[in-house]
Amino acid sequence: MTSATATTTTVVEVDNLSKHFGDVTALDRVSFSIAKDSITGLLGRNGAGKTTIMQLLTGQDFVTEGDVRVFGHRPAENAQVLRNISFIKESQRYPDDFRPKHVFASAPWFFENWDATFAERLVDDFQLPVNRAIKKLSRGQLSAVGVIVGLASRAPLTFFDEPYLGLDAVARQIFYDRLLSDYAEHPRTVVLSTHLIDEVSNILEHVVVIDKGRIIMDAASEDVRGSATTVVGMRAAVDEFVAGREILHRDGIGGLVSVTVGRLDADDRRAAAAAGLELAPVSLQQLIVRKTTATLGEDGGDR
């Protein structure tokens, strides 16, 4: 990295980016930025465009329209930019005769910050058989190889694209814990794309949610927390309380309804309690489900 890029506070800058595959629009005028030394969640449904964004940011494909800047430069065919990036993806291929030890032995050629000691510790953590042929590894062990490379490379910009297919809950927790502690000691920019939103929501500083090729949320995760609340109670009381508010979701059974609305302040909460209504927080995962399932109609059985 040159001294000029080292001092910028924005590592990724995406401006009005579109990507077409034939007549399919994978990304539709997408704009967002990613701050230096942060952990950002790139979230969305399958096929929403997450991987396409990461491929464009890592120079593995060319933009159709708009602009992409990484460390201030266009990443495509830019070795200077690409050597600062570690991209861990689900579908990573390795040479046929490779064993995990070969992957880790060759990693320092690509990543100047590679920490072999850290990699060894991670191998122990994940109980990875380093001498077994890659093609003989289980799905989870293969994912562990990628996770280890992503963590131990300590690249200034690291992408994890659904890195843990086949990893069990214990192994995923190890991944989150090691990511957090190593990130605290060696701050860098991490982009995490995942479906397991509830598992990672506490470690994300920022969330970018993409749906059908468009950004539908781009916010600090602390601002998203509490930005929606579910109000539960008798229909008449709930209807009175939610009148005039933005309704994200509505469910009902018999006389009981459950309505998800936007942020409530302390007065709203007191009023709800006084009206005998129950308030339940909405997790980031639930909120994204609400926002990416387009229908807002009453889909409970109360009509």
Binding site: I39, D177, N202, G226, T229
Partner: protein, 123 residues
């Protein structure tokens, strides 16, 4: 430990406040680092830092450059005074609302409180 629906940095600040009020963190004691909080609660270090800084801005904690974060003198009394103000809204009113729902009248409630306190729940 970390609950939904409430900013994490506020929860971190509240937990440190509780530690100070319950004397687990005495005045002038050193507070764990931001990274220690982050690792323990499995949260983003920036978020943990925001919670700690909230208390620094309030004068509950203070920074010693290059050493760390410490509990300020008088922090406990100030926190207790502040919590007193919220006690009625946060604890008493919900208690009374639930009692009313269950048909527990004021006299019965008073008796219940007397019995609980005599059993040593409240010293």
């Amino acid at each position: 430990m970390i609950e939904e629906g409430k900013p994490i940095f506020m929860q971190i600040a509240e937990q440190i406040e509780n530690d100070i009020i319950e004397r687990r963190l005495p005045e002038e004691a050193q507070v764990p680092s931001t990274n220690e909080f982050a690792a323990f609660h499995r949260i983003n270090p920036a978020t943990a830092g925001k919670g700690v800084n909230l208390l620094v801005d309030d004068g509950i904690l203070y920074k010693k450059r290059g050493i760390g974060m410490f509990v300020a003198a008088g922090a406990r009394d100030r926190l207790i005074a502040r919590r007193h103000e919220g006690f009625r809204d946060e604890y008493l009113r919900p208690l009374l609302a639930e009692a009313a729902k269950l048909g527990i009248d004021a006299a019965t409630l008073t008796d219940m409180i007397t019995i609980e306190t005599s059993e040593g729940v409240i010293p």
